[in-house]
Symmetry: C2
């Protein structure tokens, strides 16, 4: 029962992910998305899109990675991907947060979660590259359908957006083709800053 009570403490902490706000807005709304919503969205996207991966991938592993990839933000907060200054110490803040959050679980479970998170962060395996692609594609879809969203608000240049979504080029030629099409269309429509 002690172990169950410990697990429940962790599960109660998870509730706070519903109030960690991201820069992205919901489609057709001013409401900012939170980490729980974002993580759910990209997990379901994996169920829909994993067939397009160039290599055969373990989609269940990708889903698990994505479900927990932002847990560190419970302590480290969300860092906007185009914020150069905030990203300087992001890694060290998140490593500390990972020790804290995964340390709440019993040893075996902690190892399993930490190993999934490390693999995601290292972005080297086919699963991690596909996970990164989903994590980066979703806010782009929201921006595209929101008349530019945070791209426009923060005047993000097209080359920086292409750089951000570059893991997809290594992960799925078919989805990369779609992204090129979408980003060119967004540029032509003036949704992406022309600076």
């Amino acid at each position: 029962m002690d172990r169950i009570l410990k697990d429940m403490e962790f599960i109660v902490q998870l509730d706070k992910m519903k109030t960690v706000l991201r820069q992205t807005q919901l489609i057709g709304s001013e409401q900012r998305e939170d980490d729980a919503q974002h993580s759910w969205h990209i997990a379901v996207m994996t169920m829909v899109l994993s067939d397009y991966a160039d290599e055969k991938i373990d989609s269940s592993k990708v889903i698990k990675m994505l479900l927990i990839h932002d847990l560190v933000e419970l302590y480290a907060g969300d860092t906007f991907c185009y914020d150069a200054k905030g990203n300087e110490d992001k890694k060290s803040r998140e490593m500390e947060a990972a020790d804290k959050i995964f340390g709440m679980l019993d040893e075996n479970k902690a190892k399993e979660f930490r190993s999934l998170w490390d693999e995601f962060e290292d972005m080297e395996t086919p699963e991690a590259l596909f996970a990164a692609s989903m994590d980066r594609l979703q806010p782009m879809l929201n921006n595209y359908y929101n008349g530019g969203g945070t791209w426009k608000k923060h005047e993000i240049a097209q080359r920086d957006i292409f750089k951000r979504i570059s893991p997809m080029e290594k992960s799925s030629k078919k989805l990369w083709e779609f992204v090129e099409f979408m980003l060119d269309d967004a540029y032509n429509k003036g949704l992406i800053s022309k600076k």
Copy 2:
């Protein structure tokens, strides 16, 4: 590219799950939880708790079921579990919604999603029983940590709460023990109506 564009239309629809509100409130907050947040929470709960299942279960399948179990609410809305009237036509409203939402996907993917949803709804396999347990435990945890939450607001009797969480008794003796402990404690603390 046609199939990808169709998939993206489905993925854009998913965004609306972030605005389908449930009765449950976030812990320590008046804010009502939405379907995306709820689905994420119970998927991660499965990663933490699936070891406690009495039978060996395929936790990845449970996670996939839970990620999509509420998609029908995009069209059928959320029905409060203790609302007898709303639950009368729930099944037919949700069956119609399932045809509509899963019908957006190409045939193979539609079949896969529909089969997961049907299995969840039938609540017969060990995976479906565990999924139902997670779906029902999470709002109870939120109520317990919210001084009674919707239990108190709607004066729900303890026997109805036990009935609601009964799939867990068939799924995990260890988690069932925890639930009995929590619900008895909630009753003693006056968090559950004594009517």
